[in-house]
Assembly symmetry: none
Homo-oligomer: 224 residues x 4
C-alpha cells in the first residue's frame, strides 16, 4: 500500500505545488496522512508525524508553515480531484454517447467513484472528519459541487427524463436519491467492508438496478 500511496501522493502534491516533491516531503505527507487518519487532526501531534516520517520536527515546518497548512496540502487537492476528473473525463463521454442508457451511466459513475475512493480512501476519511471544523474546506467543496457537479447532473437527469428512463420528479430529488445510494455504496464498501468479503460485481449490479427501478416512471406515478 505504501507504494500505491506514494504514487498518488506525488500526483496530488504536484497538482498545486507546481513541480518538485522531494522524498522528504513525500515521507512527511505520508506520515501526516497516516497519523491524521488514525487520530484525527486535532489529536495528531506534529512530533509523531515527524517521528514516523523519520524527519526532525523542524523539517515539517520548513515545508508547511503550520500544522493546518499540512492538512490543507493533503485535503485540498483531493477536493479538486474529487470533482474535476469525474466530470470532465467520464461524464462528458457518457453524455455524448447518446445511445447509452441511464443504467450504463450509473454503472460507470459507481465504478468510477469506487476506484476514486479506493485510491484516496485515507484522505477521504480525513476530509470527512475535518470538513465540519474548517470553513474554508467546507466552502471550497460547496463551491465545487454547486458550480460544477450540480449543473451537469441536472442536465443529465433531464436528458434521461426526456428519454423516458427517469420519472418526472424534481431533479434535485433525483440527485439526492441517486447520490445517496451511490455514496452509501462507496462508503460501505471502503469503510465498513474494506477488508471484509463483499461481492463487488453483484452488489454493484444490485445497486444500479435499485436506482434504475426506483426512479423508473411507472403507471401509478405518471397518472398523478
Amino acid at each position: 500500500m505504501s507504494e500505491r500511496m506514494d504514487q498518488w501522493l506525488t500526483e496530488l502534491v504536484r497538482l498545486n505545488e507546481d513541480d518538485r516533491v522531494t522524498d522528504r516531503q513525500l515521507s512527511i505527507l505520508r506520515a501526516a496522512v497516516e497519523v491524521f487518519a488514525e487520530k484525527g487532526f486535532a489529536a495528531a501531534s506534529t512530533s509523531e508525524i515527524a517521528q514516523r516520517a523519520g524527519v526532525a520536527e523542524g523539517t515539517i515546518f520548513r515545508h508547511y508553515k503550520t500544522k493546518k497548512d499540512l492538512l490543507l496540502s493533503i485535503t485540498v487537492p483531493v477536493i479538486d480531484e474529487f470533482v474535476g476528473p469525474f466530470l470532465l473525463r467520464d461524464l462528458d463521454t457518457i453524455l455524448t454517447a447518446q445511445h447509452e442508457r441511464f443504467e450504463d451511466f450509473l454503472r460507470a459513475v459507481l465504478f468510477n467513484r469506487l476506484q476514486f475512493a479506493n485510491k484516496y480512501a485515507q484522505v477521504l476519511r480525513i476530509l470527512a472528519q475535518e470538513i465540519p471544523f474548517h470553513p474554508e474546506l467546507k466552502a471550497q467543496l460547496k463551491q465545487y459541487v454547486t458550480e460544477n457537479v450540480l449543473k451537469r447532473l441536472v442536465g443529465i437527469i433531464e436528458h434521461f427524463q426526456e428519454k423516458g428512463e427517469i420519472a418526472r420528479i424534481p431533479a434535485p430529488t433525483v440527485i439526492r436519491l441517486t447520490v445517496s445510494v451511490i455514496l452509501s455504496h462507496v462508503v460501505l464498501r471502503h469503510i465498513l467492508f474494506h477488508d471484509a468479503p463483499w461481492q463487488d460485481d453483484e452488489e454493484i449490479e444490485m445497486t444500479v438496478r435499485f436506482i434504475v427501478q426506483g426512479l423508473r416512471p411507472d403507471a401509478s406515478r405518471d397518472q398523478k
Copy 2:
C-alpha cells in the same frame, strides 16, 4: 431549544446513571454537548466547558473522572436510544400489524428516525465524529446493531418478501439499500438542510416510493 435539550439530557443521563441528575451535572452536560459539537472532542477544552456551564474546572472532574468519561456519558446513552426504542416500541407494533404494507412500514421508520435525529441532532453529530477514534463506542454500536437491529430487520424483510412486496434479493443487500436511503434522507434533512427550505412531506413520500419501487419484484428481474 435549550429547554428541549434539557429534557432529553435528563432522560439520557437517567438511563445509565441510575437516578439523580443534579442541575450542575445537567449544565455541565449541556455545555459539553455544545463545545464538543462546535470544536470536536479533541479540540474542546474542559476549561471552556466549565466556563460555559458556569462551574469550576474541578467540578467537572468530580462528576466525570476524565474528559473521555464526559464524552461517553453523552454518547453511550444515545447509542442505546438509537437502537432500543426504535425496535421495541415502533417496529414490533408494525410487525404485529400484519396487514400493513412495506410502504407503511418505511414511512413509519423514516418518520421515527427523522424525529430521533431532530431530538438528538447535536449528540449524533458528536457520535459520528468520534466513533472512528473510540473503539469502545464503535464496538458498542456494532454489537447493538448486529444483535438487535439486523436480526429483526432480516425478519421484517423476509416477511415482506413472502408477501411479494420485496424482490428476492439477499436480505443484507435489501437492508443496505434501504438503510442507505433512509439514513441519507435523515442526514441531509438535519445536517445540510437544517435551516433551509425542504418540503418534508413530499420528500418523505418520494423517498418511500423510491425504495418501494426500487425493491419491488419486477418481471425482468424475476425471470433471471
Copy 3:
C-alpha cells in the same frame, strides 16, 4: 534588598490589580523583574522565571496570560508612579509655598527623583530597555508626560521667571536643560555608581547650583 523589593512590588501590583497579591504572584513578579533586568525581555525565558520563582511554568500563565502581560504588569504601574505622586504630592506643596526659591524646588525634585529611582531601580532599567519595542508603553509614557508633567512644569518655570530667578528663555528649553541634568544625575547615581563611592549631598548641591546658575538671568543675556 529582597524585602524592600517585596514591599514595593506589593504596592505596585495592588495599584492596578485591585486587591490581593498572593505570595506566589509576588515570587513570580520578583523573579520576572530579576530575569528581565538581567537578560532583557526578549532573551528572558518564562521557564527560567518559573524556576527562580520556585513555581511551575504553567503557574505563570495562570496569573499572566502572556509573557508580555507579565512585563506590562511590572512596568505599567511604574509609569503611573513615575508621574503621579511626583506631581500631586510634592510639586503642589512647592508651588503653593510661594516664598521658596527655585533652588529649593530643584533640591526637592532631585531628592524625590533619587529616592524614586532608588526604590524602582530594576524596573526602571527594564522600562528603559523595553520602551523602544513596545508602542503601548511608549504611548502611555508620552501621554502622561505631555498631559501632566509638561503643563505643570511650564507653570513652575514661568513662576520663577516672573520672580526673576530664571532667565527669559523659552520654557521648553529650560525644561530640557533642567530635566537633562536631573535625569543624568539620577541615572549616573543609580546605574553607573550604584555600588561605587559617591558623595551624595555634595553632588546634589553641585548639581543644583549648576542648574540655578546656568539658568540665572545675567547682564549680558538680558541686554540682548
Copy 4:
C-alpha cells in the same frame, strides 16, 4: 540614507577587518543594522536579516561565526570611532589653540557629537540597547573612556579652570555635568526630535551658554 549608510558601513568594517568588504558583507551588515535597530538583538532573527540582505541564511554564518559576532562587528567599530577620532582629531586642535575660550570648545564638541550621532544614529541605538547585556562591550567602552577620554578631559577642564573660566569644583563633577548636558542634547535631538522641528543653532547656543554659565566661577561660590 541608504547610500550614506553604505559609506560609513564600509568605513566601519574596514577598520577592524583589515581590508576587503564585499558587497555581500555590506548588504548583510546593512540588513543587520536595520533589524537589530527595529527589534533588538535578541528578538532579531538571522533569517530575517538574510532575507533583507537578499542572501541565503548560511551565507551570514560564513562571514560571521555567530549571530553575536555579527552584532560585535557592527558595534565594536563604533565604540572605537566614538572615542578615537573625537579626541585625536578635534580635541587636540582645540587644546593647542590656547587662545580659545571654554565656550568655543563646548560649541565645537557639541557640534562634533551631533554630527557623529547623525551619522551613526542607528548603530548607537543598538549599542545603547545591547551594552547592558554584553560585558565585553561594556568593558571595551569603559576602557576606552577611562583610558582616553577622561584623562584628556581632566586636562582640558584644568586648563580652563586655570584660565578662570570654570569654577574650582572637582573635575569629575565638571565632566559629569557637562557631558550630561551635551549627551542629553544629542540624544534628544536625534532620538526624540529626529523628525520634529528643532531650531538647531538656537538650541546649541542655549545649551552652550547654560553650561558655561553654570560652571562659571561666581562671587558667592568662590568665597566659600
